[in-house]
Subunit: 246 residues, 2 copies
């Protein structure tokens, strides 16, 4: 399993992914699922993945090869519009899945992957897109300014209550970390370290990228503060009518 | 879908269930999933259900028939130990599933149901048990003093962080309502009204049972207060290191 979140607020984008990969309970490894492609001042893309790791790595390899190939019909760095990038990555994803699936006919392994693309191209707006295994995609919206892939349920309520377009980038990131903490506590196939990246609107580069582990001081502080604040919040909720009349 | 929670704290038991039943998107109905059996001063049982509604209703009918039948080998009101009750309900559940499954061979409908039993028998301890479709069961524990059935993920983080055996009955109930609110917001197949019941340890009856709907004043107060407190909690989390140094 995996957990990745992409958030789009007015200030820019927050992207976060865990790093746990497991092909079974006795085969758990750490692999980064966050891939950054940037040409500072021109374009920036962050791609995060859930699903088959071999498919994901094949997609990333294809994207890098196209960037380095001057004869490539299209590449991340030649794109003019973000939706073209999403279409292109979708096609690369479908092609790589199809190739692996051919060899997987006698096998129950799923070769599918799901991706989150966050980025901005000079002259265009920042955006976050969720790319499905079919190669099609959806964008965030003012009503739902975030997308999730992998183990999405445990961490959704806090995002849904807090995040809107007006949320600051840092508050959105704190909210994402709380969402990760809840997910990590409930699903052992999602695990630290967590990769966190900020793209500020118009900067056309990754403003900050941090890898957060158990001994990252600010993460410990946020987790402890959250546990305490949440307990206080429950303990100070309004009483039931029968509690006040006795 | 469904959402039910059974919580066991030192003060007693809190049981909560939603009431939405759907056989498809265009066939959504309201059915209580909380069934109370009590002989005040001798024993009290609350049974909640997720899964096939016909199976559940058949189980409840069987339990009631056995109570009313003086020749029944066993009934809820003749039981001496709560684990015997769980075993008995498990057997009734398996028998009713088997009967329906015989007729369902050409059909993809699942006839399975999952139950939560909370209760106490004079001379014994209060307990909460989750009864599986196989008829076997698990009990709450000091480490995990709650069980959930149905759509369990959205509402789990708050229970996991807050509830331990020392939590008061009313705080446990407020926490359950927050857990329901999160679940209802995320899964349209879980819906109001919510049934909430309290069994205080040693009282051997349901102390209080309330049906909570959109216009239940204390539920509105709790929801509004929760939304506000949660936002405050996120907004007052510790800053990232780079926020304090600039």
């Amino acid at each position: 399993m995996t957990y990745c979140v992409g958030i789009h607020v007015n200030g820019g984008l927050v992207l976060a992914s865990d790093t746990r990969t497991s092909s079974s309970f006795d085969d758990v490894r750490v692999h980064g699922k966050m891939h950054v492609f940037e040409k500072p001042g021109e374009c920036v893309f962050v791609l995060m993945s859930a699903g088959n790791l071999a498919t994901t790595q094949a997609v990333i390899a294809t994207l890098r090869r196209d960037i380095e190939n001057p004869d490539a019909a299209f590449s991340l760095f030649s794109a003019k519009r973000l939706y073209e990038v999403a279409d292109y990555i979708g096609k690369v994803l479908v092609a790589n899945q199809a190739q692996a699936a051919e060899n997987a006919q006698q096998n129950s392994v799923s070769v599918e992957a799901t991706l989150i693309l966050g980025g901005q191209i000079a002259g265009g707006e920042a955006a976050v897109r969720l790319i499905y295994p079919l190669g099609n995609w959806i964008s965030t919206s003012p009503e739902t300014p975030y997308v999730q892939i992998g183990e999405t349920k445990y961490g959704k309520p806090i995002l849904e209550r807090i995040i809107d377009r007006e949320t600051t980038l840092e508050n959105a990131a704190r909210c994402a970390l709380v969402s990760f903490d809840s997910t990590i506590r409930s699903n052992v196939s999602v695990g630290l370290p967590v990769d966190l990246a900020f793209i500020r609107d118009g900067e056309l580069r990754v403003d900050r990228q941090v890898r957060i582990d158990e001994d990252t001081e600010f993460y410990t502080e946020i987790r402890q503060a959250w546990a305490q604040k949440l307990t206080e919040a429950v303990y100070t909720l309004p009483p039931f009518p029968w509690e006040t009349t006795t």
